[in-house]
Amino acid sequence: MSGTITKVSGPLMVAEGLADANVSDVVRVGASGLIGEILNMTGDQASIQVYEETSGLGPGDKVITTGLPLSVELGPGMLDNIYDGIQRPLPEMRALTGDSITRGANVPALNRNKKWDFTATASVGAHLAAGDELGTVQETSAILHRIMVPPGLSGTLKSIQSGSFTVTDTVAVLTDEKGVDHELPMMQRWPVRIARPYAKKYVPSRPMNSGQRIIDTLFPIAKGGTAAVPGPFGSGKTVVQHQLAKWSDVDIVIYIGCGERGNEMTDVLMEFPELKDPRNGEPLMKRTVLIANTSDMPVAAREASIYTGITIAEYFRDMGYDVAVLADSTSRWAEALREISGRLEEMPGEEGYPAYLASRLAQYYERAGVVKCLGSEDREGSITAIGAVSPPGGDISEPVSQATMRIVKVFWGLDSALAYARHFPAINWLTSYSLYIDNLRAWYTEQFGESYIKNREKALRILQEESELQEIVRLVGQDALSADDRLTLETARMIREDFLQQNAFVDEDAYSSYLKQYRLLSMVLEYDALCRDALLKNADMNKLFGIPVRERIGRAKMADPNAFNEVYDDIEKQMKAEINDVIAGGEEV
């Protein structure tokens, strides 16, 4: 099927003579075979968005449709790799075309020559349904890749063999109900804009441990949950996303750099192979897939990048893994949508964004969740979707932020005032929220007893009181406050500085286990309780605030992750002794 271009305007073009093509088909444009996708059809005219730079194309150039929608290749070889927005492997592109991304490069997503050791686990004669495991490949030292019967297929296994194969070699033959034989390679294809099927969806009930104190303790996210990280530039969105990608206790991380800086992707590429997963000691890159469609790369491929990412995530979820998808930033995706929509001359909604912005965003986030996977093995997998939002001027009243907030359950609002004071992560504790706390209460209570959640509530209350007291201080000064209120301010300062602040660039502090978080917050709250008690006994307030142990508490978060328990025990002992001394001194006066 081929047609002819009649109009070119940036990444959008119109071609005629494509009456037999389908909407959403991938097409090849011009002599160099640029990749595009059909958006609309009118008669035999098709509007096409092209995923590459269109300079040099004009009326008369040929368009050939492939008859297939935009799809990704799924199979061994995705981990430890970096792709562009339409799943072309960037290192191989570099080998082919040099340091710059030239046009029309045609590189398959999965290497066709590399051989993988496939171990058959299903036996001949077995009846297999979609999602059932055929065999496994140890893809990286961290991840066992399950080769599954693709969705929509079931039948009796006619033959299967273990051995060394490329992704396109046939490893098994399945005879379906009609008696037709299907040769199954390890590789599957799936259209990115369609969610992969699963058996059943559940309500999330386990937390995702991120090692970040403000997240895990104050505003936790559940595995299978959704979260947004909005913030103005310079507030640390990317560092938060990187921290989550590094330390989250998930099996697979998909990191989508959507219209962001090239150097940030390079940073991940250089740093992740060096970093070790705190749970199994494996290099973090071995569980990571990177999608990089940086801001200077074609805008239409940016629109596709988040779908490419989440489809790969669904594939790993189907194996029964917990997957986290981090998209930085969804605002750039929305801008790409706006640009394409503008060129299609669609009626704009708010701020020029298309009217379907909110529904597209909702469809994306709804692909997250905890599910029972297809297949008879009762696997359970999850996708946790976290999206950065970059609101213009940091003002979240704009359409992308608002549409996102209507969908996601966790909101980590970044604040430029905190960032200016170098309080990182600059997540504002007054505006952020997590709606998963009720689902997760049972889990926290079972693990750590009631006090974990109680501590959390108490800390939030103190921070809330602080903001009210600060208003008074601003009007009339600190002296007008009672000793009790002064203590509240002091404790709030400790919660902020000694607990919430966390330095991503210091090894001891970058990751905090649940127990360390719990003990650290307990220590601060214990100080508060002891001092409150001491004040009742007429102890001197300034002396209480100035006891030497405060410096140790301030440094407690830097304690060795493996030996903090003893240190904390010792600090608490010293704290009690020193407060008792102050009480004793107070009575002498």
């Binding site: 009649t6 070119v8 305007s9 119109v14 730079e53 269109t54 300079s55 040099g56 004009g58 009326p59 960037l90 592109m93 570099r94 075309t97 040099g98 340091d99 710059s100 991304i101 030239t102 530039f233 310079g234 990317t238 219209g259 800086r261 090239g262 150097n263 992707m265 390079t266 940073d267 590429l269 940086t294 801001s295 200077d296 074609p298 805008v299 750039r332 801008e335 790409a336 706006r338 640009e339 503008g342 701020e351 020029g352 213009p392 001027g393 940091g394 960032a419 200016y420 004071a421 170098r422 309080h423 601003r474 009339v476 000064g477 600190q478 500085e497 000694d498 330095n503 660039f505 410096e551």
Partner: protein
């Protein structure tokens, strides 16, 4: 055989519609020949059937619909590059305007460049000593970074940029450097300030100037920075030079972009700027960087004046989302006589963490940097409280922080435009200032460094 068309149907500057064209492609460069033989350039923005929408790079004055001829040249806009460009001055379209001979091209490059493969980038991590404490100590610049200066009308951004260009060097390194300077819609005087400073220091021989002044055509400004970056890419990645690119003023560039967008009747985004301005700016800024296996680098310092000093205005806002930090100048500090008036708290260098520390600057750099930021922030809060309630309302600690903030501005920030401080000097001044504060407040610094570096009270 290049065809000539005498079929211009409509001109509404800066757009023009040419009919009955054949074989014209998107983004192709064109030439208009006026009846008097004068040539002007244009490029194809959209082509539909036999009708091409063309954008003029120069004024439309004097173009006659019936008599003028249009030729399409079969390629997009290109720049003739050569090492001989060093020491020369070009106009915004890449033509020499210094009276010298035309450049004998070693190569022709498409000025739009190509996106850099993220897998081919090398992460910028080499510390550049600019000699300015607020940059070296707190917002460290590294080779291959893009770090804009956010300024306002009447603030001395030119003095700071010239100081950086004059003093910047990589410690223990003798590689060849070059400066590419793009004047985008600025006045003659401002442009001359830079050029005379380059001349004074002798840097002029290693400088390429692209000059589109305020009275040059506004639409030409869309090409000027791309010309400059094309020259920079050539010098950095094919001639192994360390290139510093100064683009001033991006605000004029964005306004030219808006003008063209409005003429095309596009749906406007915020404040009338086109919705694709983020992508457009990114395709320029992202051309800074380093590449694996290449010696050269492009470090970029774009300068922009924030309309009404408003950081949330689309131009600084979108720039901040793309660049790797920003240096913000403060009108308040400028009024106080602080030179350079760098507003430290909202300024930021995203790439500093990999460029500082042992072997690059000094082991105590990261901790003292965070401590200075935190202390200055608290000191400013304390001073604010003091202006409302008087000094008596402050706690003893807060009084020290307030004192710290004043001293910090006076000694650390205000160093003048001629002082070139080594990184050691910058760090030591930082320690002297921190000694004002009680030791227990220095929580951001490791105890061993406090013991080693904190001066005795």
């Amino acid at each position: 055989m290049i065809k000539e068309y005498k079929t211009i149907r409509e001109i509404a500057s800066p757009l023009m519609i040419v009919e009955h064209v054949e074989g014209v492609t998107y983004d192709e460069l064109g030439e208009i020949e006026l009846p008097n033989g004068e040539l002007r350039r244009c490029k194809v923005l959209e082509v539909e059937g036999d009708k091409a929408v063309v954008q003029l790079f120069e004024s439309a004055q004097g173009i006659n619909l019936a008599e003028s001829k249009v030729r399409f040249l079969g390629h997009s806009q290109q720049l003739a590059v050569s090492e001989d460009m060093l020491g020369r001055v070009f106009n915004g379209m890449g033509m020499p305007i210094d009276g010298g001979p035309a450049i004998i091209a070693e190569d022709y490059k498409d000025i739009n460049g190509l996106p850099m493969n993220p897998a081919a980038r090398a992460y910028p991590a080499e510390f550049i000593q600019t000699g300015v404490s607020t940059i070296d100590g707190l917002n460290t610049l590294v080779r291959g970074q893009k770090l804009p200066i956010f300024s306002g009308s009447g603030l001395p951004h030119a003095a700071l940029a010239a100081q950086i260009a004059r003093q910047a060097r990589v410690l223990g390194d003798n590689e060849t450097f070059a400066v590419v300077f793009a004047a985008i819609g600025i006045t003659f005087e401002e442009s001359e300030y830079f050029i005379s400073d380059f001349r004074r220091t002798g840097a002029i021989d290693r400088t390429v100037v692209f000059s589109n002044l305020a009275n040059d055509p506004a639409v030409e400004r869309i090409s000027t920075p791309r010309m400059a970056l094309t020259a920079a890419e050539y010098l950095a990645f094919e001639k192994d030079m360390q290139v510093l690119v100064i683009l001033t003023d991006i605000t004029n560039y964005a306004e030219a972009l808006r003008e063209v967008s409005a003429a095309k009747k596009e749906v406007p985004g915020r404040r009338g700027y086109p919705g694709y301005m983020y992508t457009d700016l990114a395709t320029m800024y992202e051309r800074a960087g380093r590449r694996q296996g290449k010696k050269g680098s492009i470090t970029m310092i774009p300068i922009l004046t924030m309309p009404e000093d408003d950081k949330t205005h689309p131009i600084p806002d979108l720039t901040g989302y793309i660049t790797e930090g920003q240096i913000i100048l403060s009108r308040e500090l400028h009024r106080k006589g602080i030179v350079p008036p760098v507003d430290v708290l909202p300024s930021l260098s995203r790439l500093k963490d990999k460029g500082i520390g042992v072997g690059k600057t000094r082991e105590d750099h990261a901790g003292t940097m965070n401590q200075l930021f935190a202390a200055y922030s608290r000191g400013k809060d304390a001073k604010e409280l003091m202006t409302i309630l008087g000094e008596a309302a402050l706690s003893d600690d807060d009084k020290l922080f307030a004192k710290f903030a004043d001293e910090f501005e006076r000694r650390y920030v205000s160093q003048g435009n001629e002082t070139n401080r080594s990184i050691e000097e910058t760090l030591n001044i930082g320690w002297e200032l921190l000694s004002i504060l009680p030791r227990r407040e220095l929580k951001r610094i490791k105890t061993e460094f406090i013991d080693k570096y904190l001066p005795e009270a």
